[in-house]
Amino acid sequence: MRGDPITQGQRKGKYMIEITRAGKYSLIIDNPVMIATGMAGFDATAYRDLIDLEKLGAVVTAGISWRARGPAYGPRVVPIGGGFLLHTGLPNPGARNVIKKYSRQWSKSSMPMIAHVISTTYEDVVRCAEALEGSGGVVGIELGLRDDVLPDELTASLDAVREGSQLPILLKLPLHSAVDLWEIAEQSGADALVVAAPPRGTDRDPISGQLVGGRLYGPWLKPQVLRIVGQIAELATIPVIACGGIHTPDDARDYIGAGARAVQIDSLTWVNPGMVEVIARNLGGLELTRAVGALGDEWEPGLGKTQVMQRDQGRSAPPPASPPPQLPELPPRDEDQTAPTDPTNDL
């Protein structure tokens, strides 16, 4: 897919980004920034006062299974250096109850909702996919897998979703087996690859003293995922959606530069929700340019009095005594777009 990282067109003045395999049911969004599963609940309304949800490309729901699941016992959150470990047990009231409670909101939402289906038994995945398609509120299904999934199980899970639904299937690959599994997923009918599910780890909970296993989140995840996104996007013929450790617009752009068609934002949604909107505006071409010294736009969440003072101090600072000896040359714009630097050269 390299060389065509974003399929762009003009429709009502917006981008059109096809994030799944081209076809009758392909999924097109107008901003490459999405919220990852588990980060905004089942319908994202909890974030309507914190993020302008209209600016996002899509939101992936929390994990849904056919049968209800309870929460994990014991500690569920363990802070680690620069991140945290999370083990919730993927609690949800079961597909029928989720649909009953949220499908109306999904249908009303102008933002595409993608349902995340937890891979369980074949029959349950079929029923879950059927029910979700029947709800009419979701535009695609993201399939989550166990970390130790075998190729046969992956194929069976994809078959199960396909048996229950014609919606596009985004397959979320485990980080450490993504390189081994993506090709099987592509051949088995996945419409897009989400790279990757957060890796699992184990650490000691400082409060209880217990060892807790769970998924790991944090900005340090990005370099690991970026490498794998670059490797897979180089060869895959279906779109790759990157997910892992995005905390700045540059992080997201790195993924797009590595060949991802879109990105999913994970834990940033909790620690700095305002930045999610900044990234969506930045990648959606909505970032406003403004005259030097002008007041920030009302949407910019980081601009408080302290930042204004810092900026004013910077403006009154004297210019440097002498210009730098040689300014770096920027690459030509056209070349930049048609022949992007291959980030996997040194992978």
Binding site: G82, L86, W270
Partner: protein
């Protein structure tokens, strides 16, 4: 719930391990904060700590929109520091109509989450007894109003006079470590059953001081199992009626 800025105006040490931060808030919604509710705060642009901290108010001055936050002295804050605030988180504690005597129990755990409730109850003319057991007995009480009856005990559950207190209390709030919440709350419940003929609804509330990653109900990491619907500490907590908890 919104994200807003707040400024730390003053810091004051109230004991060897605790400090009070005077936090001037911009968001008018935070001026309505009730005892039991808290804030998710990001105090620094660095990623340590990465998750937002749960800051618990112990008082509010409505004239200047300043919240008093009680915080362990594990981090240095200075006057003028700006922080990002999301809140209020959770529901306020509900006092039953007609309750005149509150029994607040901190079992081997800091009583910080009970202090704002205690202050407001005193303002409203209620009598308050604060029981501090285990490590909670080391909490500095010099800053508390003298009208509060404070009972100290090294025994975590079997503090002196516990049955009598549970008999005359109109409502009880208990806090303990989330690690031992289930067994300790069950022990208090059994104690109350022994002490009283009947336990009315909401007589005994347990406070769950769990780590809250998102504060919006999205992550479901702060779920507490109840007999009707599972509750989230960040939306319907932190206090839950102990009679309605589901036991494992």
């Amino acid at each position: 719930m919104r994200e807003s800025k707040a400024i730390i105006e003053r810091t004051r040490r109230i004991g060897p391990n605790w400090q009070h931060l005077a936090l001037a808030v911009e968001d008018t919604a935070l001026a309505q904060i009730a005892p039991g509710q808290s804030l998710l705060v990001r105090a620094t642009d660095s990623r340590d700590p990465y998750l937002r901290e749960n800051w618990v108010p112990v008082g509010f001055d409505p004239e200047v929109n300043v919240l008093q936050i009680e915080h362990p002295i594990n981090r240095h804050y200075g006057a003028g520091d700006a922080v990002s605030v999301i809140g209020p988180i959770g529901l306020g504690f509900e006092i039953m109509p007609g309750a005149n005597h509150l029994l607040l129990i901190a079992q081997d755990y800091p009583p910080t989450r009970l202090i704002f409730l205690m202050m407001q109850a005193i303002e409203n003319g209620l009598a308050v007894t604060l029981v501090l057991t285990g490590i909670a007995s080391r909490y500095p009480i010099a800053a508390l109003p003298p009208v509060v009856e404070v009972v100290h005990s090294e025994e975590i559950v079997a503090w002196p006079g516990n049955k009598e207190m549970l008999q005359w209390a109109h409502q009880v709030f208990v806090i303990t470590s989330p690690v031992f919440a289930e067994e300790r709350y069950r022990a208090v419940q059994e104690l109350a059953r022994d002490a009283r003929q009947a336990l009315p609804d909401r007589f005994l509330s347990g406070i769950f001081d769990l780590t809250i990653p998102c504060g919006t109900g999205a992550c479901q990491a702060c779920m507490v199992r109840t007999r009707q619907n599972d509750g989230l500490v960040c939306l319907s907590g932190p206090a839950f009626d102990l009679a309605k908890l589901k036991r494992s």
